[in-house]
Subunit: 357 residues, 2 copies
Amino acid sequence: MDELNFEGYTCPVPIRPTDTVLLGHGSGGTLSRDLLNRLFLPELGRAAPRLLDDSAVVAIGDQRFAITTDSHVVSPLFFPGGDIGRLAICGTVNDLAMVGAQPVALTCGFVIEEGLSFELLQRVVASMKAAAQEAGVYIAAGDTKVVQKGGADQLFINTSGIGTIPDGIDISGARAHAGDVIIVSGTLGDHGIAVLSAREGLGFETKLESDVAPLNDLVQAMIGAGGIHVLRDPTRGGLATSLVEISEQSNVTIEIAEQVLPVKPAVKAACEMLGFDPLYIANEGKLVAFVKESAADRVLDVMKKTKYGEQAVVIGRVIGSGKSPAKQSCGQVRLKTAIGGTRLVDMLPGEMLPRIC
Amino acid sequence: MDELNFEGYTCPVPIRPTDTVLLGHGSGGTLSRDLLNRLFLPELGRAAPRLLDDSAVVAIGDQRFAITTDSHVVSPLFFPGGDIGRLAICGTVNDLAMVGAQPVALTCGFVIEEGLSFELLQRVVASMKAAAQEAGVYIAAGDTKVVQKGGADQLFINTSGIGTIPDGIDISGARAHAGDVIIVSGTLGDHGIAVLSAREGLGFETKLESDVAPLNDLVQAMIGAGGIHVLRDPTRGGLATSLVEISEQSNVTIEIAEQVLPVKPAVKAACEMLGFDPLYIANEGKLVAFVKESAADRVLDVMKKTKYGEQAVVIGRVIGSGKSPAKQSCGQVRLKTAIGGTRLVDMLPGEMLPRIC
């Protein structure tokens, strides 16, 4: 299928400009990108080459630091397998890990709706503590704001973080090379479907649990094995959006195989029932890695020995590089379907599951 | 009045424990402290000695860093003299500056209510850009979440920041000494009253403007003059709360003179009309400094030559140290009133002006 001609293709879901912010602008997909390109980058942007990585990289003296921020607005606050507190810690720890950084300190900013019960807040904070201990990070600074009843939906938590990047580590979405092997660390879509089932009270028969977990130990083990070019945690927008971003950053063509994508039967069933594609569902304890071909077996072995990488599997490859920039937004990620066809994979166009993280 | 006996005093406004979070828990005063002591510190606390400073101080290798976070929920988003964007940048720049740090990078996390107009968001972001340029900082990383209509009140912005603390700088609320001269950089209460007037449409005849401004240049100039022991920006809870915090951290007794407190006539009039005390009103472009006696004149001279320190004035002194910890929460800050009496100054007990920052 490599000789497929994409010349005539256009993006399948053109986004109309709007005058107001839509839910989809927070999706992590195309509308989020639109907001970034229309507003935030022209006004506030700098450090363009690494723009789309999970953390910014800042040099202070001889030391490189990773810096990242995430606001968490997940609803409901508690869901099978996790809660907003664990999510807030893991989300930021993982963003730091995805550029190879070792987390140093986190900050937490709480926005609380008046009337929230202390008991609930206590459970969230205890969960943050447990997650921070698991990840080996600490919270250096915090802030609390309270808004009147109805001014916010229960509780939002911003977590920012800083980590140090050891010398010699250079991991970025811009570093994918032709020939790289693409590995995911485990099953796809668990988090999004778990939150959705808790929110809508869907009551699936099988137990669906979020995968929310800190991946910094997994990443350290992988770095020890060598050959890591790209790491990303496919949160909002799912694996598909992460792969499209990487293909654009590195200007490469990616091919993945549908048959080998790891999806739990319960998640698959829920997706079929609800009309979702697991490729676009958020994960909070998974990563996708682009690894030098010669190191791939070694990295996979190491991953399988860790708690959060046991089910790691190769899902595809970088099959070429150097597509013209004009065609970057469509057609650089291809999915070999189970029946032998090829499907183009684009970013999540709008919003599928709002307030998933 | 120094021989006044405080033995029999109890706190004037005992705070009853509640089962739910109140607006006052976000006030920066006693209820905020209660939340910190009951929940956040036991679970997440570390680095106790500097606990109450505006930034945490973290050492990485030989370099000390200041780290801070603030969520901004001010209502309305635009007010005379500023807006949530300028506030978000200046608040974090100032927190870094208050431990003598030079800001390196900020992060911004937006929580946006679905339906917010792009035009409004654009104005906020443009204001952030202008404030960041004025302060000489840049925004290294950002995040955007969108919640459904009614899930948040228009727009919240978290700003976290990191700065480097040069060798030899040791500025903390724990460093006040007997004899220190206390200086404020300008008039008190401008921000809180400006936001309130905009929110309530009070239509005062005189123009009231927020003082929201980045103070890092002012602080650098002061540090150059030497002898700076303590810096703090009296935001939520006002100057009174800052002074009580410092008196507790350093275990000292402070005396300030009501007659010399700089308050604009319009702010004074508004406070009299509304029953507020300017000592408890938030400022966003002011600092209070505790300076070694021998350096005080020099520091004051330097401050008066800067844009945001022109109206700097000495307001009092540290008159003693070493009160027993049991009595710390009451009676360590005294106000010499205009008619010659002495009033005890306590922290803001509950909430006077919600969503002021």
